[in-house]
Symmetry: C5
Subunit: 360 residues, 5 copies
């Protein structure tokens, strides 16, 4: 039986605890938290990887702007330390650890907290996985938190490292924008995957309908919904950020946010089309099953019908009339058998021409 | 015949009475009202259980903040007494007793009246039960009213009693928040249960479709709707409370309310997915019934077809030709019977290979 | 053929007439208009029944507040007289007589005009009937107009007459509220009736599907829609009245209006659930019809199959082999017949066990 | 093949022309434009019919208010002349000639331009036809333009001519209101017709389902949509006109506009119910077709079953046992035939009782 | 397997690139960018075609207003040059090259950027193709960018060239309006094509349902959605432009924009009707398949039934009664055969009359 184990986890861990307790809620996907600090300014980039909390405490800032990235959230001590350093509100800390948040943005005095979701497509099992990405944008820092290293942000790191990259000269708000842009671009890939899966399911529903397909259809429906739930509120977040007169994004970066806002609208519209197709799938599957059964009954009826003339001929030559043709002749029996064969063959040919002998 | 007896009760008791009359409307679930007073401040907690109205009248307050909890609403005298003590508006008193209110919040000069619903899952009958929870939040008191002791608030009591619990130092608005948070956390459990029931019903619809299932599907649909009706308006209430500049919640607690607001949105979105699956269930059930019938007709047709060749062979050897093979031979009959058996076996094998002999 | 005769009436009478002409549009349900005047103040109640327009003209007011109730609207003269006495706008008069108005409230300088609908359940024919109730609320008077005496307001009259009733001391706005409250309470009864009818139809659709049911389903759908159309705009009216700063309702009464507003929201939500079930009904009916047919075909196929082995045995013993068992024996025929009986019985037993001999 | 020729016309004529070109777009329904001028004031009415543009140019106004009505729009010269006389904006002129406008109202400095649609029911072909009605309301004139004389406004002309009609003393805004009221009243008639057609189609779908019905269902759906598209924007227009502080309608007439606004809401709500029924029609039709087929298969199976016992009896008496009952008796054959007849009759009776011999 | 290759392209090219990079995203449809400059004022028109970027750099403006049209976007150098000349924001340049934008309008200080889509119907493959049209409206210039030369704007060029065309005397805002008007007029043609395709599919679904049709239905659904996605946001754009107090459109031209706004609303409404029909198509197709199968089973059952009486007659005359009619007579056999023929013919006639022998 399929059980939605994630939600279960949420509850067994959370129920009865006071709000604001720092407990990681979600699946543990990484063995050890991995903390990387990228400091940058127009002149260059310094990257530091921390192995322990102590190491991080000793670190002295080297450049004006920094990006702290954390993979792995199951160690509350790390969160507590970072929270203390950057003065994050307890609710923000709790939301970072509880990886089942809806995308949203909360503005605090010193930083902007943005929750989004990063999607990954597991080509082996053909499933969509999603991971919560928490982005904290301060005046001169960006913090990012994720359960797992998906490599989604690797291209951005490359651009920061690049010799002549314009990226370094922009503020941290532009970095935050670049991160969001990357996430939204991934939604297009997911959209493609969902579209492909839907088409495959449709082909299967027509060619080989079996109950397992029903579970598959449900799964893909669920994943489409999952994607929608990630994009829909993010669209609202981007709309707000791009319009509101916030101190965290410059007017220039807000223009770029408007651009990804347009992309999320695009994703949502395309998603509707995928969801429409998925809604039709159940109907197609159900009638495909029904038609398959009917086709089989048709074949059986064809077989029955093929025997009818032969049986009648046998019956006719079994009649007890005194005067009857063929009975006394040497080849009578062979002729009768021939008549049977001819009748059956003619009928079979007629059915064959109409494609009634195929199971489709 | 299933009758919605609750609504009936509402009407037979209420029709013809002047508005504002204190009559308990709803099922009586508790024998005797149970009244508990928890007084608390940063230093400690005092708990008192009242056996009679008189006892409660004599009670002198011992600490700055208090939480009065009432289980059992069928005795209007209790309500009237509390109403008089806390100066509750007649409409509030009426709404507390009439346990079929929609979640809402009404702000009065001296207190805020919040109606929410507490859900319980009866694992035995696999049904969701819901109970109205009335919360009256004053400057230094919280009143809670419920039909039945569900144990939902036990964890909060524990946290109040805890030696170093931060709970006691917060105001009563934080207590009200904690109560609402508990209720919303329960909605997630209900969501899980609804999801499981839906999946079970789907399995049953495919494996053993019978009309009783239809009533089950309707019941679960109804319960999903019930949950939705409890959460939808609560979401609005939380939105208003967390945004409005009310004097009953501090800015800090409002941040926490925003958090449960997010949770209710999450519940509603997940609920939509459950409702989608439930909507598909009827189609699955109906075509499953139809397919089962068709499968049975297929088996019957298979049986008919299996007899055809044998009958034909018997007919052939019943023909009256003078010259016919086998008829005069000693083993003729056995050979004929063998031909029949072979023909039937071959056909049966072919059908077997195609799975046409299974009822699925 | 079912024709919606009401709308027809509307048109044949109205088309071509100048707007504002006082013509009664709707079914005539009462023989003679019945006009009752209830005058009341904190000290007592005076009731007067007018037999003629002349009698009413001579009447002198006796108490500060009054409620004039009119049953029967087909005599325009009555309307004209009342309209002149209370200075009602021609459009208001026209709307009172045209009993197919949507619920609404129109505020004029001296009075507030409210249209609502009163529902009645005819238990004999299991149909919902609705009647337009026009309420005109002035500073110290309430006028109510209805096609037919439904007894809906009898309880309110009783409360006015009651010795110690608080009702008399309230203003006429409270009376108007009480009238609306009564109407909304009736909607709950209608909701129950619709729910019961839906369940009955579902049972019938499964046990005895016949085309007449289709008309029934349509009828109940139509009645659910009728109720919805009565409640939906009334909800808006109540929302407006309870919020707006009108001079016709005191702040206190507005609180009570808010309460019935909540009830109408409740009715509408429950109605959605009924409408969902009704929407499923067509699917259930249609597949029930289809399954019934398939079940019958299954029985027929079972019968056909039962004859197959007997026919084969007869065929076998009809073969003309020289050497055949049993043929020459005394009991051969009886044995053959026994074989047939055994084969048919075994098959019938197998089918019986699988419930394939039942028409369901 | 059904083609939507109207839209085609629109395009072939319009594509490539500069906007604002005066080209009539729509079907030509009248041979020669017919122009009638009704001048009126409280004292009387003067009617003039113009045969040529020249005649109209020579006309001198005789009374304070006037109503110019034009039937037939295919002669751009007429439009150009009127446009010049009343100083109509080129876009207004273009919209009057292009009869596929959505209902709307455009306010210009000197006049208000209102587009609505007039519906006609062709009882012969049971189709709804609609025609664009353009109303230009100036300070003391009303212009109306229509493709075709439908007689819709005849009653209004009668009221203007009537000796004691109050109509003449009202301003031209009241005349415009009366015209709109007439159009809206016609929508109710169309609603009735749509409802009747839907019921007829439902009866046909059950009694005689054939593919032609599918086209019919589509046609009626299309007409319901056509009506909806005419009413929906008109409702918005009326809402705006009745609320806005326009100089073209007096406060008093705006009250009347509010009244027709309510009527359009009523039409739209009733239309929803018709559209719901139409949406169900496809399901009813499709399963009716399927059930009809199944019923026919049932009859055929009944026939097959009826022959089974007779065939078995013949087989039994064809067996070659030495000792068999009846064979040697004089009446043996007749008895056997009787047995066959009795068996078939009994079965037929059983089937008859269950109504399995009817094609329904 | 059908793959949505366009989106793929988008991603493989874009992923990992910094935002604002000038990369053409979309299909390359034109070999070489074709740049045409039309300069015009009230006195005349000058047209110049540039073969190279250099040629364009040398060009000196000859008239007050100009329209620069670019077909083919795959050469970023062209875009960069134009961008520099007209000082276009990098995001605008990026959006022009990325041809998967949603229709929108962005107002900058010196120009207004409008994205719309141009539709083309490929009559050969019966498919709708769409191309992004970017319009940049400055104070005295209009820039248009398109992937491909569709000829959509040819008529406008003609009107500019025309001797007495009023077009030249209008400002560039009127030109922008004319371009948008042309695009919207094309939507009507697409609507017609979609309507025709839907009707054809419906006919096919009834006459010859095969799985390929399912893909066709999906394709047309997808194209209807594509059209909707092009029109829906454009409607919003036009609404904003026609209302907002923008400096790029004169009040007069805004009136004309209002007109095309009305047209887009019209397109969207008609599109809904097409989409409704498309939604029904799946149901019609699925039940058509099912009915076809049932019809075939009916024919087979008819055939079976036709053999029954003949087989019975043969069985009867095969019985071994000593005394039987006809057996000893000379013509007995012929009479028996005649009886068989008559019985079969009568039955066949009965079935024929009921149309049960047609495959439909």
């Amino acid at each position: 039986m399929r059980k939605s184990s994630k939600k279960r986890t949420r509850l067994t861990r959370k129920l009865g605890l006071p709000p604001g307790s720092l407990v990681h809620i979600g699946e543990i996907k990484t063995e050890k938290p991995s903390i990387t600090l990228i400091e940058f300014d127009a002149h260059g980039v310094t990257e530091t990887r921390f192995d322990s909390l102590e190491a991080s405490r000793l670190h002295q800032p080297t450049r004006a702007k920094m990006w702290l990235n954390v993979y792995g959230l199951h160690d509350p001590a790390v969160m507590a330390e970072i929270g203390r350093r950057f003065k994050l509100h307890p609710l923000v800390q709790e939301d970072i650890l509880n990886t089942h948040q809806r995308p949203k943005s909360d503005e605090y005095a010193d930083y902007l907290y943005i929750v989004a979701r990063c999607f990954d497509f597991d080509t082996e099992s053909s499933t969509l996985n999603s991971d919560q990405v928490s982005i904290v944008l301060g005046r001169n820092f960006v913090l990012t938190f994720q359960e797992q290293a998906t490599g989604a942000f690797e291209a951005i790191r490359e651009r920061l490292r690049a010799e002549h990259g314009a990226m370094r000269s922009h503020g941290t708000d532009y970095l935050a924008y670049a991160l969001l842009d990357t996430l939204v671009d991934r939604y297009f890939v997911m959209l493609d995957n969902l579209g492909d899966m839907t088409e495959d399911l449709e082909d299967l529903a027509l060619s080989n309908p079996n109950p397992a397909l029903l579970a598959e259809i449900n799964r893909v429906k669920h994943e489409a919904l999952m994607l929608r739930r990630a994009v829909w509120p993010l669209r609202e977040v981007l709309n707000t950020l791009s319009r509101a007169d916030s101190s965290f994004f410059t007017a220039d970066t807000r223009l770029y946010l408007r651009d990804i806002y347009d992309h999320t609208v695009h994703v949502l519209e395309s998603l509707e089309s995928v969801r429409d197709s998925l809604a039709d799938l159940l109907d197609i599957y159900l009638s495909s099953v029904s038609n398959r059964l009917n086709t089989e009954v048709r074949i059986l009826t064809v077989l029955t019908t093929l025997f009818m003339p032969a049986t009648l001929i046998a019956g006719i030559f079994g009649m007890n009339f005194r005067v009857m043709p063929l009975l006394e002749e040497q080849d009578g029996f062979v002729i009768a058998m021939g008549m049977m064969a001819v009748a059956a063959t003619l009928m079979a040919a007629a059915f064959w021409r109409r494609n009634w002998l195929k199971t489709r």
